[in-house]
Amino acid sequence: MARSVGADDVTERRTVWGAAASSFADRHIAWLLVLPAVLLILVLSIYPLAYSVWVAFVNFDFEIPGHAFVGLKNFQQIVDDPIARWSLVNTAILSVACVAVEFVLGLLLALAMVKTFRGRGLIMPILILPLFISPVIVGQFWSLLLQQPFGPTNYLLGKLVGQPVEIGWLTQTPWNFIAIVTADAWQWTAFMFVILLAGLTSIAPEMFEAAELDGATPWQTFYHVTLPLLAPIILLAITFRLLDAVKLFDVIYVMTGGGPGASTYTASFYLYQIGFQQFHLSKATAGSWIFLALSAVIIMALVRRLLRPEVR
């Protein structure tokens, strides 16, 4: 008798606790659902960033023992380093060049592919294929094609101009810049292309019909109808590309190794060299904060305005 009462008691207590727990869970479902993701970002992004603030102000260098506070010395070292400044300029040059080339090629491709023609369905998967390949491998591709003296590019160019061509695509300026932009454009033109194509197909056909009725030439239609209607999506595509292009690293690492000298250093490559090759971790961290602050300016300016889910 007593035993069964006790058992009932336990079950009841359990259901009471269960009900309380489930009502707690139900009331706070919104925050419980975001909790795991937010925790992970806090532990692996926010905490490391906070930790790196400390690293940037102390001595954390595998060549010098101890972690003494050094104030702004690490930042000073970066600012005083001509290679750091060159890397930053280079990042700007290369990312703007890459994005510009990709935008022009991608827009032309989108305009060429927007109407159906026979074989379009077969061509489409090939055009987007580069997006699914690791940038390291893309760098490897172009190293193979451009290498001197056994690569096929110089040989074919030689046939074309009728005399031997001996361009050191990976070892001579400005050819190494052209090689890097080519490799990057090979991979990311498809990015511009698919987004701009989506934009083009979403423009109502009536707009073009109206322009045609008004007797607009194709160029006028493009300039006064297509381009303004496409503007928001062009901005979005360029923003997304630019934010990734400033991180340029993989292709440089494989194709030129930053060289010759430091001529093709980008910000990411420079900081990698300082941090992971020379192990001046505090100097690299201070540099990465400067880079982060500069990127944040672009992010704030561009993304906040663009990335509402309402953008279509």
Binding site: L144, P152, L236
Partner: protein, 284 residues
């Protein structure tokens, strides 16, 4: 809206440059295919053919020795296994956490615009700013050069993608069915678990595939957070840098091995490519 596979037939862009258009598309196709052709050919060339002038466009005696060398001598197989394990586990975790958070953002507007923007901003952080402190912390936490360490950082890095893709996906799912279930006495968890989640499966699959492709092709974090044990496939290309001409075959064989899985997966999600590339902001 029309997907990538179809386009309208209306005369919307009668540029009148029919031939020029096809010529451009043709040239672009050659531009895209040439490196792929060359890498496949290089991977099956006998070593003596690399250093030939004029270049050998098609080897007389194709060989697979570079594949076996890449997989075994250069530890390509170990890298392949690491990549597969890390990418698979990351994909599951990222899709799970992304779905939970995406649902919360879409249905309860949790944290207002600040929380969703905060997650998104992670997508645009320079990786070098994260990888330096994470490298130091991983060394003291014992996570340096482990698969677990890579899985955790990759899950974090792919979260903006998963969260925002699922956020956009849940927003376009009608919420009437969940509301009806709540009226019938279903708990909120029940409405999420039994009503919304089954409807979201196609969206989850697409987000998961994009996360997988990202991890499979990622280089920078793997380069700096692994060494002899947890190294992934892309990091093996370190071994082929410089002017060691004798290794073009191995490098190419490894490249071919590595690009096949991600291309196959990419083809499966090509209809959703625009959403994937813009984190759900643009519908293709």
């Amino acid at each position: 809206m029309a997907g990538l596979a179809s386009a309208r037939r209306s005369p919307e862009l009668r540029l009148g440059f029919g031939t020029l258009r096809l010529l451009y598309v043709g040239l672009f196709l050659i531009f895209v295919l040439a490196p792929l052709y060359w890498v496949v050919i290089t991977s099956i060339k006998p070593t003596s053919d690399y250093l030939a002038i004029p270049p050998v466009w098609f080897p007389a005696e194709p060989t697979i020795v570079h594949y076996t060398a890449a997989l075994f001598a250069y530890r390509g197989l170990a890298g392949l296994i690491n990549s597969a394990v890390v990418a698979t586990v990351t994909t599951v975790l990222s899709a799970l956490l992304g779905t939970l958070m995406g649902y919360s953002l879409a249905r309860f507007n949790t944290g207002g615009p600040h929380l969703s923007f905060w997650v998104l901003s992670q997508r645009f952080l320079p990786p070098i700013a994260i990888v330096l402190p994470v490298f130091l912390l991983y060394r003291s936490w014992g996570l340096y050069d482990t698969r677990l360490g890579l899985i955790l950082i990759y899950t974090m890095i792919t979260l903006p993608l998963s969260v925002w893709m699922m956020y956009a996906y849940f927003r376009q799912l009608p919420k009437e069915m969940e509301e009806a279930a709540l009226v019938d006495g279903c708990s909120r968890w029940g409405a999420f678990w039994r009503i919304a989640l089954p409807l979201a499966v196609p969206g989850i699959v697409v987000a998961a595939v994009f996360a997988f492709i990202f991890v499979w092709t990622e280089f920078f974090f793997a380069l700096n957070l692994t060494s002899r044990n947890a190294f992934t496939l892309p990091t093996i290309f370190r071994a082929f840098l410089g002017f060691q001409g004798a290794q073009y075959g191995e490098a190419s064989a490894l490249a071919v091995t590595s690009l096949v899985p991600s291309i196959v997966l990419g083809m499966l999600v090509q209809r959703h490519l625009v959403r994937g590339l813009t984190l759900g902001a643009v519908h293709g």
